[in-house]
């Protein structure tokens, strides 16, 4: 049995996507842990941005809110929401990490409602800054557990834009050019998107996962890359830093 859990695997995989010198807009939880881990390993110059105004803090611990004081602790600047989102709109921000109650084959996300919009079964928080980040940042990534209720054929509500209906539909809708979903990191696999159709495409299987498991836990038909690799497991050093420095209280990885 592996000496790490799937949350740890996802966080480590996500952190590896963030190259040194990149800029990333994050929320709390796993995305923040991934950014912190990247900063403490291979990407010391990673610029972390929080939508409420925190610019490139030296996070002393996991923030519990996107606007709490940790998000601007020893920061480059304690700014405002427009400092962050204007920078995203101007094209300064490479990545964002998002989540959602539902995701479809084009990487569109729903965090608004389960059931009918007018008379919902479950009303959810809505976009928050997710739609803004996903509209403006160059590459959107998602860290999420994978199952059929979450990976759906049709969203109950398209809160946050992915590739919309695929092909050129995202640009045609009017969103900034060359932006869009990039990687989906689940407990079972890592997916990208087909260059033409923009459909979700499995790139690598996490240790212990099989193609069948991945497809079975997905409500739509996945595409498969030519060479499906195995997601490299976390290194000992990554796990040590994640557990000792990033999330010592196991808020995220403990679950």
């Amino acid at each position: 049995m592996a000496d790490y859990n799937t949350m740890e695997l996802m966080i480590v995989a996500a952190s590896r996507e963030l190259e040194n010198g990149a800029t990333v807009g994050v929320g709390t939880g796993a995305p923040c842990a991934a950014a912190m881990l990247a900063q403490k390993t291979h990407a010391p110059d990673l610029v972390i941005l929080f939508e409420a105004g925190g610019i490139s803090p030296q996070l002393p611990e996991m923030p519990i809110s996107v606007g709490d004081s940790r998000t601007f602790y020893r920061a480059i600047k304690a700014g405002g929401m427009c400092d962050i989102m204007d920078a995203c709109a101007r094209g300064l921000v490479d990545y964002t990490f998002l989540g959602g109650a539902q995701i479809d084959m084009y990487g569109n996300l729903n965090s608004t409602v389960i059931g009918d919009y007018e008379k919902p079964k479950v009303r959810l928080p809505g976009s928050g800054g997710a739609n803004d980040f996903a509209s403006f940042c160059w590459r959107t990534m998602v860290i999420t557990p994978q199952d059929k209720r979450r990976f759906v054929e049709k969203l109950d509500f398209l809160t946050t834009p992915g590739w919309i209906t695929g092909g050129n539909s995202r640009t045609e809708a009017g969103l900034p050019e060359d932006t869009g979903p990039y990687k989906i990191i689940t407990d079972m696999a890592i997916m990208g998107f087909d260059e033409e159709s923009k459909r979700m495409t499995v790139l690598s299987l996490n240790p212990g996962s099989t193609k069948e498991m991945v497809q079975e836990n997905c409500g739509f038909e996945l595409l498969w890359a030519k060479n499906i690799t195995e997601t490299p497991p976390p290194t000992k050093e990554e796990l040590r830093i994640l557990r000792e420095q990033v999330d010592p209280k196991k808020y995220i990885i403990g679950r």
């Binding site: 939880g29 409420a52 105004g53 996107v66 606007g67 800054g129 834009p161 809708a173 009017g174």
Partner: protein, 339 residues
């Protein structure tokens, strides 16, 4: 508010309601008649809310989530049983939870609602939607921020490049237009001139000049666009402090209608450099919501029976709690040695 000018290049329109008139000329008339005299505006929370928050008003609460959020004022609004408010669900978390508990609003611009970020979802807030008790318009955090900014600039809309292609657009009140310079599609978002807003700051003088520390979120734009503004402050300081350092002023007095001395006014949320959020109490609140009878008692204890914010804090740990939250905020708390 349903006027349409589809002959002027509108390609598509969202179906969400526009709660506030974006007409800058009507807002100008209001601002023209608002006094700019530097008069003493220091008053009690009771009076500030009574005089400035009216049934049916569009209300903005400052800060982000539960950070630098004027909970003292929010409790007073509930205590005074305001009804039929329109609420800006802009990065709202515990503030919406409290306002929902009091059934204070029935229209809402939605950017972020119901959730308390990582802490969970408010059952009581969810019910408003699941029981169809509110009218709502779908937006985003930046979208709402831009609507305040448009109003702050005295223009009826700002064009942005988000939300296109989504149901968030479809159920919002934006309109897709074409840029006359580049031919690109843009979403025009109508200005919001709120009736009343409440901002919590570190320091204010008796006239309303105010300054705060840490992130500003959208509070400066909110201060500029709102028709009436209540400033609640951790500390009231001498006017000379501003005169001697005009670089530090964030909100000039003439935007302000009432100033309230409100120490620990952001409790149970975080006040930067002062105190961290009371996670135990916020957790208690979330679980109290699960049972109606428990929640009724909980609200009685924490809001309705409290004569002021001090009493509320006393009931939840008083000075010792605040000293502890200060240590948490300043990262000086050691789990081994304290508590």
């Amino acid at each position: 508010m349903d006027t349409k000018y589809d002959d002027c290049g509108v390609l598509d329109s969202g179906t969400g309601p526009v709660f506030m008139d974006p007409d800058p000329d009507k807002a100008r008339l209001f601002f023209r008649n608002k006094s700019k005299k530097m008069s003493v505006k220091l008053t009690s929370m009771e009076e500030a809310v009574r005089a400035n928050v009216h049934d049916g008003d569009y209300l903005v609460v400052g800060g982000f989530g539960s950070n630098r959020t004027p909970f003292h004022a929010v409790h007073e609004i509930v205590r005074q049983k305001r009804k039929h408010l329109k609420f800006a669900g802009h990065t709202s978390t515990h503030d919406m939870q409290v306002l929902a508990a009091g059934n204070t609003f029935d229209c809402i611009d939605i950017a972020y609602i119901i959730g308390l970020e990582a802490r969970g979802l408010s059952k009581c807030s969810r019910k408003l939607f699941e029981e169809n008790r509110v009218q709502f318009n779908e937006d985003t955090n930046y979208g709402l921020a831009m609507r305040f900014k448009a109003a702050a600039m005295g223009i009826p809309y700002i064009p942005t490049r988000n939300v296109m292609g989504t149901d968030t657009f479809r159920n919002g009140c934006g309109k897709i237009i074409t840029c006359p310079f580049t031919g690109k599609k843009l979403v025009a978002k109508p200005a919001i001139y709120p009736d009343v807003s409440v901002l919590h700051v570190h320091e204010a003088d008796k006239y309303g000049n105010a300054r705060f520390r840490g992130i500003s979120v959208s509070d400066i734009d909110v201060a500029n666009c709102t028709k009436r503004l209540i400033i609640t402050a951790e500390r009231i300081i001498d006017h000379e402090e501003f005169r001697n350092n005009p670089d530090s002023t964030m909100i000039p007095y003439y935007l302000v209608d009432a100033v309230v001395s409100s120490p620990w006014g952001a409790y149970p949320g975080t006040m930067p450099y002062e105190y961290f959020s009371d996670e135990d109490h916020l957790g208690e609140w979330l679980s109290a919501e699960k049972d109606p009878e428990t929640f009724r008692k909980f609200l009685d204890k924490n809001i309705y029976s409290c004569k002021n914010h001090f009493e509320y804090i006393e009931k939840n740990g008083g000075l010792e709690k605040m000293a502890h939250l200060h240590e948490l905020e300043m990262l000086t708390y050691k789990e081994d040695s304290n508590g």
